[in-house]
Symmetry: C2
Subunit: 379 residues, 2 copies
């Protein structure tokens, strides 16, 4: 639902077909786009007019579907996490390489315009070496309506696969160095929602930078306060609507909860139309410390705290949400630019997520690259 | 200078003597308090009218002086860090135990009234288990005028011994559990100021809580923004006076720098008189996450974000700076209350500081208790 406006607005994109198990979604798609909607993935992939496929299904279906699409000769945009196991991520990446097709993992907040602008400033070397990134985000993620698999880590649920994946993408993009090690504590604080709902992690990078990543999906405090009361998706937020998700959840049965969540998908009339967000999306409070400046990211631009002056560099508001993702994917499909968030990128981010969980279980540093090496040694 | 007003105001305290190498300090003390000022420590310790000694000398002198005072039968209040090596801290603690005298390590921000109030709320169990503490502080510590030893880690300089000691005290006090391990990156970003000036650390606690501690003493961004533009010592701060310390430092020679620093000590006429701070002292942005609430500390009180409501619990402004330290020390001397921040507390905090530096050097978790065990195995 969030990516559709950018797809519709891009003149290089035609929505030429869809696959959904739900009849109401298929009917609405056929109506809205005058294109076929299939009830099997194979039928979609068989269509010769389709060049590229966007996979926005539950996490545990990504691997099978992405690999099938790549083997059918389609470019693939797959939502993060690219799959629920590292082995599956590696299989997808291999399938893309074998097929010679473009694979982009997104949307994620690594695509957000302020993140990309800050990453470019860091990479320019204008402020010297990047030394440290401080990232924290306190949300009510664990109290929003959830499908059961969203609360099951083995099926790609919990905040590590769905939220750390964002924060790691952001921090990796900002630092621009390979990750050396992850030391983390991830924990389940609420036995009625059985998955890791919060973590804090220390990430080290090969050229010496370090990052602190903290996330609470159980939060009572709302860190949107630190970014001018703008919500994750770029909308202004009313600080007085305190604790709404938790209050609403307390009134729902588990069946109600699943239905509440399903109401947020395509084909359901209740879903709001395209009211564009006035600001960029964001993933909480983020400071990048370089030798000669600290950069603070905001949904409106970058605050640059330099040696003698501070400056605010506004970033033009987004034309459409997630336009950056469609640009990167379409640019890749058309051979105009090489995607940053490709299969290898997604695999590395997933390796960091697995390292985060492993580190918490084993109480020690875990090197994402070592997890990948172990994987490739297996038959 | 900062603790003197609380000492003067406490009717249980009489300033009965002082020791200083500087004649102008001795003369001013004798004038102001009508009590002897000695030019050797031994002379001071020999005085039978002195029950307790406050040691506010450079860090590297603490061990020898504290041990001498304890052996002379005086109670001791020693500034943090209690000494520059773990072995010396252990020797001081042993000397206090052997002498049966009170030893308090302070002031530190662990004494700040909002920290103590939050610690009591956490310990009450009202909000369930404490799960996570997030602490960050971005200051210009490394750009303020410094004596050479303040920039030499081997002599107790750098931000770990002088600043992490505060942050660790705060976090230990809030969590109220023994520390299991420290994983950290501490780094020197500025070759002209040769000491660790920034760190980020993941601290785990025995009952399962975790804390993220981040400090930059090279900061361009000023995290006092996150606590309502109140400075560390409780004074209101003008956000428009950007980068002053860095600008001033750029104009000073190294001799000027030492003199600028010395101007902040007792006996120098330029030192401002007792203008009391309107708010409590603080050590940056601090959130304590419990099962059923997040607590945000501020120099004015505690924000309590509960399941259904948020609440601000104001804390009465401080009567005098560092009154809490003098209360704890005098209470200990008079046998009224057992000090929290005693020799064992200071030793444990120092062990965390050493663990932080060791972890950064060795790229692995370091257990403070293991450092202490190793110490006691030595002859």
């Amino acid at each position: 639902m969030l990516t559709l406006p950018a797809l519709k607005a891009d003149s290089r994109v035609a929505l030429a077909g869809a696959f959904d198990l739900r009849r109401e979604a298929r009917e609405r798609f056929a109506d809205e786009f005058g294109a076929p909607a299939f009830d099997t993935l194979d039928a979609l992939l068989y269509s010769p007019v389709i060049d590229a496929v966007y996979i926005a299904t539950p996490h545990e279906l990504h691997a099978e579907q992405a690999i099938a699409a790549l083997r059918a000769g389609k470019h693939v945009l797959v939502e993060k996490p690219m799959a629920t196991t590292l082995a599956d991520c590696a299989r997808i990446e291999r399938a893309a390489a074998d097929a010679g097709k473009v694979l982009v993992v997104g949307p994620s907040h690594g695509f957000d315009a302020p993140v990309q602008a800050a990453a470019q400033l860091v990479a320019s070397g204008r402020f010297g070496a990047v030394r440290m990134v401080t990232a924290l985000n306190f949300t009510d993620f664990m109290f929003r309506p959830r499908r059961p698999e969203e609360l099951d880590s083995a099926r790609g649920g919990g905040v590590v696969y769905s939220q750390a994946a964002h924060q790691i993408d952001v921090v990796r993009r900002l630092v621009g160095q390979p990750v050396s090690s992850v030391r983390a504590v991830a924990a389940n604080w609420d036995s009625s929602r059985p998955s890791e709902g919060a973590y804090t992690a220390l990430v080290t990078f090969e050229a010496g930078a370090a990052a602190s990543l903290t996330y609470s999906g159980y939060a009572h405090y709302d860190s949107d306060e630190l970014v001018g009361w703008i919500a994750e998706l770029g909308y202004d937020k009313d600080p007085d609507r305190y604790g709404e998700a938790r209050k609403r959840l307390a009134t729902l049965s588990s069946q109600d909860e699943i239905e509440a969540k399903l109401k947020r998908t395509y084909g359901v009339p209740a879903v709001a139309a395209d009211t564009p967000a006035p600001h960029h999306e964001h993933f909480g409070f983020i400071i990048v410390s370089c030798d000669r400046a600290d950069l603070k990211l905001s949904p409106k631009g970058l605050s640059i705290y330099g040696d003698t002056e501070r400056d605010f560099q506004p970033i033009e508001p987004p034309a459409l949400p997630r336009k950056e993702v469609i640009d990167e994917f379409v640019g890749g499909c058309l051979g105009i630019r090489r995607p940053i968030h490709d299969g290898r990128w997604g695999l590395d981010t997933m390796a960091c997520c697995v390292a985060l969980l492993e580190s918490s279980r084993r109480n020690t540093d875990v090197a994402p690259n070592q997890l990948l090496d172990t994987l490739s040694e297996k038959p």
